[in-house]
């Protein structure tokens, strides 16, 4: 069985789904003998255990929190979370260095999200950006160009909004009482990916950023980009103990990910997932997890 962060995101048949919402009978994307397959989940249970530990692995293709006994597929075979912690150079102080192997990454799907999948993605992006305002809901997004904010308004919020840009890279959209947007946005990979990126700040043209404690937003949007075939490179900083992540888009995919940092996480909220088949690796946050 696998122990995975409940907020990590697997790929279901209708699109990205948080591991905490995966249930018995859900079919999730796995790799088996180098080929992608849908594999049914035999059992799934939430395991909150005070004192339990997990390991968060930060890579240039995203990050994931796994149990100490759960493995990631590397170029040198399976390595557990505990193995990766122990590979950090213990003789460095205030630095993050280790002799980590490369991690195998899952190739992006050939099929873009379906119309139904797009609707589910937009619904979740809406809830991830939602704040309670005093006069109704507010949607917090990064301070992006007008085009992207308009796309988010149209596709995700689907109501006309007042826009208030902030001082720290955030902008807030407040739906107006009247003015629903009836124009449909074509749910193609490009528009879905753009809406996911809207949740990220834009400190510089071509560079997106999220504070590290925005866990659900980060996990889900990275999974959305994966499903849309968008290749990214993530950069977790500072390395010794990451506090934010930068993201850049890339033209091509990479078959491997490099580990940038490894951190033990105490009292991890883990979901225990048992797949109905052995010998396959579950795609979680773009990486391959095995037992």
């Amino acid at each position: 069985m696998l122990h995975l962060d409940s907020r990590a995101v697997a790929i279901g048949e209708t699109g990205p789904v948080p591991v905490g919402e995966v249930s018995k009978g859900t079919r999730v994307l796995c790799m088996s003998q180098g080929k992608p397959r849908w594999v049914e989940v035999r059992a799934s249970a939430f395991r909150e255990s005070v004192g339990s530990t997990g390991v968060r692995v930060f890579t240039d293709a995203g990050d994931v929190l796994i149990g100490t006994g759960t493995s990631l597929v590397t170029s040198n075979g399976l390595r557990t979370g505990q193995d990766l912690v122990e590979l950090r150079d213990p003789r460095t102080i205030g630095r993050m260095e280790g002799s980590w192997p490369l991690l195998e990454t899952a190739a992006t799907p050939n099929e873009p999200p379906t119309k139904e999948g797009a609707a589910l993605i937009y619904e979740r992006l809406s809830s991830l950006s939602l704040l309670d305002g005093s006069n109704g809901p507010l949607f917090r997004v990064g301070s992006h160009p007008k085009r992207l904010l308009g796309l988010f308004e149209q596709a995700v919020i689907r109501r006309r909004c007042l826009v208030e840009p902030g001082m720290a890279g955030w902008t807030w959209l407040a739906p107006q009482d009247q003015g629903s947007r009836s124009e449909m946005v074509a749910p193609n990979s490009e528009t879905i990916a753009d809406c996911a990126l809207a949740l990220w700040q834009l400190p510089k043209e071509g560079r997106y950023r999220l504070p590290l404690d925005h866990v659900e937003g980060r996990s889900f949007t990275l999974a959305v980009l994966y499903c849309c075939g968008v290749h990214v490179r993530t950069d977790y900083r500072p390395r010794y103990s990451p506090h934010y992540v930068d993201l850049e888009l890339e033209a091509t995919s990479r078959p491997h990910a490099e580990i940038q940092a490894v951190a033990a996480a105490s009292a991890a909220l883990l979901t225990e997932v048992t797949l109905s088949e052995r010998g396959c690796y579950m795609v979680v946050s773009g990486l391959l997890c095995g037992q």
């Binding site: 205030g94 704040l131 005093s134 955030w170 504070p211 934010y244």
Partner: protein, 196 residues
């Protein structure tokens, strides 16, 4: 621990100290030497002890350079070759969770991290939650409001309050009408009219 046991950055130490170093580690951006391996662990414990002292009585949230300076003034007979290693040891303490960070914004709205003692984690978390709740209820929270709202041990330093208000801006829960460079003195909910 005696000053002779303090680790030193080899690039800044005398040739004699470099020759006498029996153990070597990478500390922050320096290669450091010391009599033996235990010197590194003991120096780290010394830094932790003085960090906790600097962050308490009164409770303070400090930037890394400020904390490093505070720690350096407390270590007896500290040479420059050892002083430059303090940052690296502080980063290791943060990595271990022996010191904790909160992200916030400077008066120029640049993000930075303020460090505090893990003994006050609940106090800080509760303070942030209280500020958020007050923001929802009243739509605006000022430094003055914060000083009445939060425990005296935290609000005795205005800088602590500014850091906590800045945290709300950092995570996008609030905005402000203060101009850059002036200093954050109030935050409000977005799409609420500013109050003059």
């Amino acid at each position: 621990m005696t000053p002779a046991d303090y680790p030193v950055a080899l690039s800044k130490a005398s040739p004699r100290l470099v020759r006498e170093a029996g153990a070597e580690r990478r500390v922050g951006k320096f290669t450091a030497g010391a009599r033996d391996d235990s010197c590194f662990d003991r120096f780290q414990q010394l830094i932790l002890h003085f960090s906790i002292e600097a962050l308490n009585n009164p409770i303070r949230l400090l930037t890394l350079p400020h904390l490093a300076n505070s720690v350096a003034t407390r270590i007896p007979r500290l040479t420059e070759a050892s002083r430059v290693l303090i940052d690296g040891f502080l980063l290791e303490l943060i990595r271990h969770g022996d010191l904790v960070r909160v992200s916030t914004l400077s008066k120029d709205f640049e993000p930075y991290q303020a460090i505090f003692s893990p003994d006050h984690r609940k106090l800080i978390d509760d303070a942030i939650n209280a500020l958020e709740d007050t923001l929802q209820a009243r739509e605006i929270v000022s430094l003055d409001d914060s000083s009445h709202l939060l425990p005296q041990e935290l609000s005795s330093r205005k800088q602590n309050l500014a850091i906590l208000l800045g945290h709300l801006l950092y995570r996008g829960s609030a905005t402000t009408d203060v101009a850059p460079g002036v200093g954050i003195d109030s935050v409000r909910l977005p799409h609420v009219a500013p109050r003059l």
